[in-house]
């Protein structure tokens, strides 16, 4: 009894897939999980406007995204950290063309903590954050933390550091920032989606880190800004390169991008942590789409170029509703010319 229905169902599914595949032009992508909500929104809206084009995006992680676009199993990739020279070369060797980076939206990592008796927002200097995560600052009442938090009664308790245990773009942003503000961090730990942490406990995902911090008194960790905003998790302010303490929000993250836009390289592979600008939040980053410079299928090429143009104009309007910071004007203009590099 069961088998015929199963077979029928399978046939039906196959039929639907075949029918769906025949009609609109299907463009496959894979990569970062952090921008997945906005990407799926964009692809959905864009499909609504252009019913003959359908984007299919799998949020498998930045690493897998880079791997899949290099191997050519997807039409485009997406990543939270720019590809390094080695990865770019591997792509060129394999695909005989270059890979282009297109920033889409911005994200940020914020410090969050659980200190008994402290309810307000704490101020962190870069030195304090690096010291804490290196395991050199071990007490909450250390002068490096207490200094910029006058009037807050910080206890003499041991600090418990919490970090992400899974490889993640948030960790990349966080360690990229620490590498810029601390030479010791740069030489000992450096930046990556997962690193060899000097101290601390690991939590899986933003929710794992948040859970550990809630469960552990005197702990400090970092989470994605969007996650903190959507779940009302209190977080601290960080001193930026201009010397002001800035709390992360959509405006201060966008400000970091415009601060860095002047020195934007032509391939858009830029880190905007510790960006200049009085209102810039220092632990911010772009997230990128990875698109081959040469696309043989002209239908797909036009569809991808069309989508990029739309993403940079109308698409940006959808970003803030989903708590992503928009690209600054300077970057949008630069990207619009870069679209012509796709042949």
């Amino acid at each position: 009894m069961k088998r015929p229905t199963g077979a029928l169902l399978a046939l039906l599914v196959l039929g639907v897939i075949a029918w769906a595949a025949q009609n609109p032009l299907l463009i496959n992508g894979a990569g970062a999980t952090f921008p997945y909500p906005i990407y799926s929104k964009w692809f959905d809206v864009y499909h609504g406007k252009n019913p003959n084009i359908q984007f299919n995006y799998q949020s498998v992680g930045s690493g897998a995204g880079i791997k899949q676009v290099t191997e050519g199993t997807v039409d485009f990739g997406a990543t939270d950290g720019p590809m390094n020279d080695e990865q770019m070369k591997a792509f060129e060797d394999k695909r005989k063309t270059a890979i282009l980076h297109f920033p889409t939206v911005l994200g940020a990592a914020v410090p969050t903590y659980n200190v008994p008796g402290v309810s307000g927002s704490l101020n962190f200097t870069p030195e304090a954050l690096a010291g804490i995560f290196l395991g050199k600052i071990t007490k909450w009442n250390d002068p490096a933390i207490a200094g910029p938090n006058k009037g807050v009664n910080l206890p003499a308790n041991d600090i418990v550091v919490v970090h992400r245990s899974d490889g993640s773009g948030t960790t990349y942003i966080w360690t990229d920032y620490l590498s810029k503000v601390s030479d010791e961090w740069k030489s000992k730990v450096s930046r990556a989606t997962s690193v060899n942490w000097p101290v601390g406990l690991g939590g899986k995902g933003n929710e794992g880190v948040t859970g550990l911090i809630k469960q552990t008194p005197n702990s400090i960790g970092y989470v994605e800004l969007i996650y903190a905003a959507q779940n009302n998790i209190p977080y601290g302010a960080v001193r930026n390169s201009a010397g002001t303490f800035v709390k992360a929000d959509l405006a201060s993250v966008s400000a970091a991008a415009s601060g860095a836009a002047k020195d934007m390289p032509n391939d858009f592979r830029v880190s905007i942590t510790n960006a200049p600008g009085k209102t810039a939040y220092p632990i911010s980053s772009f997230t990128w789409l990875l698109i081959p410079a040469k696309i043989d299928n002209s239908g797909k090429r036009d569809a991808i170029k069309g989508f990029l143009k739309w993403m940079l104009s109308d698409g940006q309007g959808n970003a803030e509703a989903l708590s992503y910071a928009k690209l600054p004007k300077e970057v949008v203009q630069k990207e619009e010319t870069a679209i012509n590099n796709i042949q």
């Binding site: 498998v60 899974d166 730990v189 060899n196 942490w197 406990l201 899986k204 469960q215």
Partner: protein
């Protein structure tokens, strides 16, 4: 079922004379072939699995060789990888889990099979089966919200105060760590031990019990000295099933172990397990060596399970031989 029943008067001599084709028509040969393919596929899948793990972990084998097993560093930035902290964490958490779960599970199984009224035993069995079917992420959440705070505020002080001079009970306790993971694993594997052991105990022939009672043993003596030894192999089987589950458990462990690749003597220290690190880092592993090192860890876990299973079988062999010598 109905079609597969051939009408053969007497199997022996006639069977030999029948042609392969006629046996094929009866369905015997077809059934044999099909079931053989099914059985062979298990072996084939195992071989393919090991093969895939082996060829996809060539890079770390070339670069680190056997050092992979003794290196304590896990550094994706410097591309340096070692399996030791993960092997240690996997073994310690599984050992803690079995130490807690085995006495509890077997005790409960003895009660359910031998002492409890059948009605109570059957209804409790229902709950045990229910527990065995709970997804592991639920046990992980239970661990995070109940075991972790309890570990910090109750269990750690209770053990650290009197036994703090022992390295295994040294502080500080963050709540997460080897011990917490062991407790959560123990809760997860107890249903398996109870369920299988109870079935095994129930299948011990009535004669065995009656004989023991007839020569004047008490109820407990007949249970402990006759029924349990008789069921020993099966009970061991339940423990190894539990061990296999504990070794490979991913989600619940990663939520409560602390995810820190360090080897520490204290059970309260945070650690890491093989399955947990694979689940955590696989998706974002960018470099080839990084990815292949994770696959090599998978191979190590396979090896670990294989060795422990082999040891278990050896143990059964040795103890049953000794056991049968005494009881017969």
């Amino acid at each position: 079922m109905a079609t597969a029943t051939p009408t053969i008067p007497s199997a022996g001599s006639i069977r030999g004379s029948r042609s392969f084709l006629s046996r094929l028509r009866d369905g015997d040969e077809i059934a044999r072939l099909i079931t053989f393919v099914f059985a062979a596929s298990v072996v084939l899948i195992t071989i393919l699995l090991v093969y895939e793990l082996w060829i996809n972990s060539a890079l770390p084998r070339q670069k680190f060789g056997l050092h992979f097993f003794v290196t304590q560093v896990w550094d994706p930035v410097m591309d340096e990888y070692g399996a030791l902290p993960f092997v240690y964490g996997t073994l310690v958490t599984s050992a803690v889990a079995l130490l807690l779960a085995v006495p509890l599970g077997i005790g409960a199984a003895i009660f359910l099979a031998e002492l409890a009224p059948p009605r109570v035993s059957d209804s409790l069995q229902f709950f045990i089966d229910l527990l065995a079917a709970v997804p592991s992420v639920i046990y992980g959440l239970l661990g995070v919200f109940i075991v972790v705070p309890m570990m910090r505020t109750v269990i750690f002080p209770a053990l650290n105060k009197p036994f703090g001079y022992l390295p295994i009970f040294k502080g500080p306790s963050y709540g997460v760590g080897f011990f917490t993971a062991g407790i959560v694993l123990a809760i997860m594997v107890i249903p398996y031990i109870i369920s299988v052991s109870r079935e095994v105990l129930l299948s011990v022939p009535r004669d065995q019990r009656e004989a023991a009672l007839a020569v004047g043993s008490t109820r407990w003596e007949s249970t402990w000295k006759v029924v349990v030894p008789f069921a020993k192999t099966g009970i061991m089987g339940s423990i190894f099933l539990a061990l296999a589950r504990a070794l490979g458990e991913t989600m619940a462990v990663t939520m409560v172990i602390g995810n820190t690749p360090k080897i520490a003597a204290s059970l309260f220290a945070p650690g890491y397990s093989i399955a947990a690190v694979i689940a955590n880092e696989f998706t974002e592993a960018t470099g080839d060596l990084y990815l292949q090192s994770l696959i090599a860890l998978g191979l190590v876990l396979f090896l670990l399970t294989f060795i422990l299973n082999g040891l278990a079988r050896l143990l059964i062999l040795v103890t049953t031989q000794k056991g049968s010598g005494v009881s017969n």
